[in-house]
Symmetry: C2
Subunit: 396 residues, 2 copies
Amino acid sequence: MRISEKALNMKYSAVRKLVPLASEAESKGVKVYRLNIGQPNIETPELFFEGLRNIPDHVIRYADSRGIKELLDQVIEVYSRDGHILKKEDIIVTQGGSEALTMAMLAICNPDDEVLVPEPFYSNYKSFIDIAGAKIVPIATDITNDFALPKKEEIQKLISPRTKAILYSNPCNPTGKVYTKEEVELMADLAVENDLFIVADEPYREFIYDDNDKHYSLLDIEKARENTIIIDSVSKHYSACGARVGFLISRNEEFMKYIMKFCQARLAAPTVEQYAVANLMKAPKEYFKEIKEIYKRRRDIIVNSLNKIEGVTCSAPKGAIYAFAKLPVDSSEEFCKWLLTDFRYDNSTVMLAPGEGFYETAGLGKQEVRFSFCVGEEDIEKAMKVLEEALKVYKK
Amino acid sequence: MRISEKALNMKYSAVRKLVPLASEAESKGVKVYRLNIGQPNIETPELFFEGLRNIPDHVIRYADSRGIKELLDQVIEVYSRDGHILKKEDIIVTQGGSEALTMAMLAICNPDDEVLVPEPFYSNYKSFIDIAGAKIVPIATDITNDFALPKKEEIQKLISPRTKAILYSNPCNPTGKVYTKEEVELMADLAVENDLFIVADEPYREFIYDDNDKHYSLLDIEKARENTIIIDSVSKHYSACGARVGFLISRNEEFMKYIMKFCQARLAAPTVEQYAVANLMKAPKEYFKEIKEIYKRRRDIIVNSLNKIEGVTCSAPKGAIYAFAKLPVDSSEEFCKWLLTDFRYDNSTVMLAPGEGFYETAGLGKQEVRFSFCVGEEDIEKAMKVLEEALKVYKK
């Protein structure tokens, strides 16, 4: 029997593939600071567990393929706080943002079609686009320029008859970049002018750290109404990654009609978690302020520590829960493996996500790594000390 | 913007597409007996809710991409009861059987590859295979012959260089057929001789109603060890459809290695439901006896009632929770719609799943419908009376 080309060519998760090495170190009693993954250590709000306790039915039935009414209503409520008026038909509850993205790519792309994505990007975008048989055409951005988008003409040159969509995360995983109003408008303009879908993946929308910065939503750009697809998720905002509840949002009726075919094929998102999340999303907007302060302090420690280490370049992450940095090593993947297999400082080490997995362009990201803000301040401080000492040893 | 060919060509769920008509009838106060869908009305065992109450963590974290240890251990335990020895690496927890099937098809099929499926089949198989860009080559079976498989030579003729797998459900949705030992061996032989994967979808394995019949598992056929993929789900066995917890099981290490890429891309199955299901699956095997008795009584009522109605042909469903019957109508889809929009008996009507959606071959299934055993005996009796009266009126 032969495995499909798709399966052969797909990549293992850049964030998860070093897990066996970390587990092995841990099994030997080594403390591993896991800064590789966006798995917050923050407690899931009690509202979630309250929702779980109050499931209204003793038969755990299939939910409606679109999602349960209670949750759809709550999504409408949360978006209305930011002035975005949605109706039930504009929303589909998905199994995490992952499923929403996979469905969107399947509904948009024919095999060999192209999707423009600012690079570096969340590594699983490649898998979702691979599943649809399409490919990523990267929009190059650079750490020395804080990952700003290139000029419109430059991006326009990348658009071919095969281009079907622009996909970006805002704030950006892995760089922490927050797109400016001009950048969001630029992408929306390109989408409208070239008849493309534009997909904004926004699971970190509430996590923008500086008062000068703001989240600009495609939902405010009326002329891009039919082009716009928003991906959302409760994973990071409410520290509920394991709930696997996300949302696909679009006011393009035709598009949503076809997405429903994929929804019906997988029947429904999990019922119990939908009830729990419907209650969880009753958390007031102030909840995010509190969480944001926690992440902001962690970010500051990481960025300040990195800037003190010789040879390290770190951009200023303005949002999300990641920092992306360039290390003075030839292969960050080899370095990350070495950290787990060989290097110990005070019987501890650090796990990072190698940068290459966040790039499509061969050869890029080899010196870069992603740090997540998902452990406490004290652990971050220790982890950064481990990194500093490791780089001293590794360079020799 | 254009929608993908895949999305344009996919079908809406045969089982779910009449839902709006049923909802409209209900909104007018009409009682609709919903025999269209495999959504049991049986209470989910208390063990599930006990599991929910005892989630061991206040952070709802991503589960391991393979599934949580507690659940994998429980699957191993349940399979060992039937003499099937599995190890953790042979199992992956999926978002329902639906995700397991989608991943399997993606890992096996290149675009335009072929999958042999006895027809009629569970309608969503078509969607899963469409997502992989492959197509179904139906193995014809017939209601007048209780859906027995054709001879081996007949099936062999359907195999081309593009054929990659055989897929069947056992007991069969929608027909209730239970494959005999000879039939399972015949399919396994064909898979081994032609180097194909063979995928057995077994969410109704415990529901076989007559003492003479038995579930024959591919796991017992040693020579097909590398070819065999089992799809399982807690949806029907434990009346927990909404949990969306299924399993992909295979002892083919190479295949499982590639499946893990798809697992990592979607990160994990839902954490909370995995804990609840790990506890749910502690239900003793006797639990199924009790549930089986309930379904058996319902089956008997449906089959006896159908056999009394003039012009109706019903095969004898020996397992699963469905009966498939041929009605004296030209288009069962039109008839099913008419039941919901026009026909009322005692201010009630009945919702059935039109047969065409369970066929790939154009023109087949037009007179057939699927009945599910998912409402109580009294409701089934009333529903069958409604059907009898409806056919009298419709024929005129």
